[in-house]
């Protein structure tokens, strides 16, 4: 091997070497330090094949294709992710970069890595549990969001049992991890409109019982973010049937009315945007109408004084005036 200059190892050799190194790292043998070093070194080699360096161009398509094939055959992607916590700091970042690059690879209209991961969904599930471990959560987050760009992968994640863990991850005490988890969570629920709508419809009860907990969270940020996302989900035309279902449930209305009175003005404001849908509904079910009628005067009075300093926001004022008018004109259903 030349003293200076790049190594001439081909993809097959690098992948093999990396796999061996990760395996011995996993076993925690006495030569752990040596293994750690080998992992880092080979990861850099793979990364340079894909991205090139300041001196060299990325490798040709043929080499990259060989590399990808080796990665699939050796099952190395899963192995790397499973052992991500054992790899050093730079190595973790390299794994994410290699993973995301390989994921984006296209042959014609096909995305071979996406197809590969579809046959190995453990990769996705392992990545999702990455949020449980502080030291790898953010690396897993970047890989997950890259996966979420593909409809097929997003669908697998949404429909897996592990998805419901996100309701826990978005509340963890470490703020950066909770935020990262929330952005992945939001991406999964909003990116592929039709897949999301189908998912929400099919799993309405389960999803919204979990969602209710977020809205009642102790954590202000969780409460506010989840309320805002709820508004976005309900007002998206794709989720029409989810919205009609949501606004027929009197429990949801009560929750929103309580949130209108929260201490935080931001939460009040977000709650207003969900509350307005209940009132604007031209076909209010009886339980909803009953609640509104029972509180008719109080609501009108409350809304009159609600965020009166937002004089600049014409749209808000129009909507508020509309709601006040609607509530004033509410009448019990005939025959009652």
């Amino acid at each position: 091997m030349p003293l200076f200059g790049k190594s001439q190892k081909g993809p097959a050799e690098v992948v093999k070497a990396l796999k061996e190194a990760v395996n011995s790292l996993e076993k925690g043998e006495k030569k752990a330090e040596k293994a750690q070093e080998d992992v880092s070194k080979n990861l850099v080699l793979i990364k340079n094949m894909l991205y090139g360096t300041s001196e060299s161009e990325p490798q040709t398509d043929i080499i990259v294709a060989q590399l990808a094939q080796e990665l699939y055959n050796s099952n190395l992607l899963l192995l790397l992710i499973q052992n991500l916590n054992r790899i050093d700091f730079e190595g973790k970042k390299d794994v994410a970069q290699v993973f995301n690059n390989i994921l984006r690879r296209q042959i014609g209209t096909r995305s071979p890595t996406v197809e590969y991961i579809c046959t190995k969904p453990e990769i996705l599930f392992t990545l999702m549990t990455g949020y449980e471990h502080q030291d790898i959560a953010l690396n897993c987050g970047t890989m997950l969001r890259e996966c979420a760009r593909y409809e097929a992968l997003a669908k697998i994640m949404l429909h897996s049992e592990d998805f419901y863990n996100f309701f826990r991850y978005v509340e963890v005490s470490t703020f950066d991890i909770a935020s990262d988890a929330f952005s992945t969570f939001k991406e999964l629920l909003t990116r592929h409109k039709i897949v999301c709508a189908e998912f929400l419809e099919a799993n309405y009860d389960k999803v919204f019982s979990y969602y209710q907990r977020l809205l009642n969270s102790e954590n202000y940020v969780t409460r506010r973010q989840s309320l805002k996302l709820l508004g976005e989900l309900l007002l998206d035309r794709h989720n029409f049937s989810v919205m009609t279902r949501y606004i027929s449930n009197p429990e949801n209305l009560k929750l929103m009315m309580n949130m209108l009175k929260e201490r935080s003005r931001n939460i009040q404001f977000e709650a207003f945007h969900v509350f307005k849908v209940f009132v604007a509904n031209p076909n209010k079910p009886k339980p909803i109408l009953d609640i509104l009628l029972r509180n008719q005067e109080k609501l009108v009075e409350f809304l009159m004084k609600f965020h009166t300093d937002r004089a600049e926001d014409e749209q808000f004022n129009d909507e508020k005036a509309y709601l006040i008018r609607q509530i004033k004109e509410l009448k019990p259903l005939p025959g009652h």
Binding site: Q106, K193, I194, L235, R237, V277, A280, P282, E314
Partner: protein, 463 residues
């Protein structure tokens, strides 16, 4: 005028005083006819300059040989400069730049937000003109309230609005774009784009449309002229004048009115259907747009609107032979006569032409230059310089020829360095040498700073 101006005026006068006065040439406001010296004098005096200029003039003339001064300018020596750039500030905040485009309602100009220093565009509506357009005022109002609700990368963002009741003008301050897809096509060979570039714009159009449809908005007037481009090649859907919002509780997307541009209207509207599914209208016109940017032609044409609508209504069109599958198949799917058979946004996204990025072509069509400036430099700056530095004075080199030096900017750091340098020189050489050192300071000041260039700012050079 601020103190700043006065200072620079004096400075300017001091520098000019060394010039041979007889060589003065006047700037003339947009006047094509040669004018004689007396008129020149009038223009000079009525130029709207502060009295500093007159003082300068007086100083320069010394004991008032004013007649000689004017008589020595022959008409062929008069150099006509473009219209002076008068500084205009809207709402105490937005500084006007050059014209970007013009429409039936009014003009679009570039502007600078003096608070955020962001480049913006302003759409200026003249209420008088607006009243003459059927539904004009109503549509603008609708557009404003709609734009306020929308927030997406591929939708033009409304930053602010401002009314001037005295001038009867309405200003909509929008994100800055350098041109439209139509402008790009007009400058492109064959009026079409290479596949890779078209693919990039079309995917952005789909992103924007998906967001719009999710927000229950039917645009109804998708066409290259309404798709704007930023300097970063981001596509922005604009012009929501005829857009319609579907009611939150409507069961489906049925619309009743079609008002878009005829060549981009679907058969159901051309045939005068009473109601039609709204979102599929946008799919159709996106299909016509894609056809147009890929072939340089339109799928349906006609000598007049009746013929055009007849052709669209029949739904028969030809795709040029050079368009191969999968694009051919995509266009056929988007331009299905029956809206229920027409592809949905999701189907388009999953179409092979979208999932496979076309290989890079031999060329990329770049946005045509505005007034010969292919880099699209900010046009607000000259107005500011004109206003604060009296740049309308021509200047001369040693031989008395008029020159327009490139604008030179000086950073505070350079000024400090120059001052320091001068101090050092003074210490070394004593005060007798101060003349020399001041010239070295001047040299430093003249170093241009490359990140900004401005045409037409003239300065007097020291001889």
């Amino acid at each position: 005028m601020s103190e700043n101006t006065n200072n620079s005026g004096e400075d300017f006068g001091a520098r000019c005083s060394e010039q041979e006065l007889s060589n003065r040439i006047f700037s003339v406001e947009n006047d094509d006819e040669p004018i004689n010296a007396a008129e020149n004098a009038e223009i000079w005096l009525n130029d709207g300059h502060s009295t500093d200029d007159l003082d300068v003039l007086g100083d320069d003339l010394g004991t008032g040989n004013i007649n000689d001064f004017f008589h020595r300018v022959d008409s062929d020596q008069v150099i006509y400069q473009p219209k002076k750039k008068r500084l205009k500030i809207i709402d105490n905040r937005y500084v006007m730049g050059d014209l970007l485009g013009e429409g039936a309602y009014g003009k679009v100009k570039e502007m600078l937000d003096s608070e955020t220093l962001c480049r913006r565009a302003v759409k200026i509506f003249k209420e008088r003109k607006l009243r003459r357009i059927p539904n004009g005022e109503q549509n603008v109002q609708k557009e404003i309230s709609l734009l306020k609700k929308l927030c997406h990368k591929n939708i033009i963002r409304l930053i602010d609005e401002h009314r001037n009741p005295e001038k009867q003008k309405l200003y909509l301050i929008l994100e800055f774009c350098v041109g439209s897809l139509q402008g790009l096509l007009d400058s492109a060979p064959g009026k079409k784009l290479p596949a890779r570039q078209a693919h990039g714009y079309f995917t952005q159009l789909l992103d924007g449309l998906e967001y719009l449809h999710g927000a229950r908005v039917v645009h109804k007037d998708i066409k290259p002229g309404n798709l704007l481009l930023t300097l970063e090649q981001v596509l922005k859907i604009s012009d929501f004048g005829v857009a319609e919002t579907i009611d939150l509780f409507a069961k489906d997307d049925t619309c009743y009115i079609g008002q878009g541009s005829p060549a981009f209207q679907p058969p159901e509207i051309a045939n005068g259907a009473e109601s039609f599914p709204g979102f599929k209208v946008d799919i159709w016109s996106s299909g016509v747009t894609l056809y147009n940017i890929m072939t340089g032609k339109y799928p349906f044409e006609g000598d007049n609107i009746y013929r055009l609508f007849e052709n669209i209504g029949n739904g028969d069109f030809k795709i040029p032979d050079e368009i191969q599958d999968p694009l051919r198949n995509l266009l056929a799917g988007m331009l299905k006569k029956d809206p229920t058979e027409r592809l949905s946004l999701r189907q388009i996204r999953q179409h092979p032409w979208l999932t496979r990025k076309p290989p890079p072509g031999d060329y990329v069509v770049s946005i045509p230059p505005l007034k010969n400036d292919q880099f699209h430099n900010m046009t607000v700056l000259p107005y500011l310089i004109e206003h604060y530095y009296h740049a309308d004075e021509p200047c001369y080199d040693e031989d008395g020829n008029m020159t327009y030096s490139e604008t030179e900017y000086v950073t505070e750091r350079q000024l400090n360095a120059a001052a320091e340098n001068q101090k050092r020189l003074e210490q070394v050489n004593g005060n007798s040498q101060s003349n020399q050192s001041s010239s070295s300071k001047r040299n430093r000041k003249k170093r241009p700073i490359s990140c900004m260039t401005v045409r037409n700012l003239s300065m007097c050079k020291q001889s």
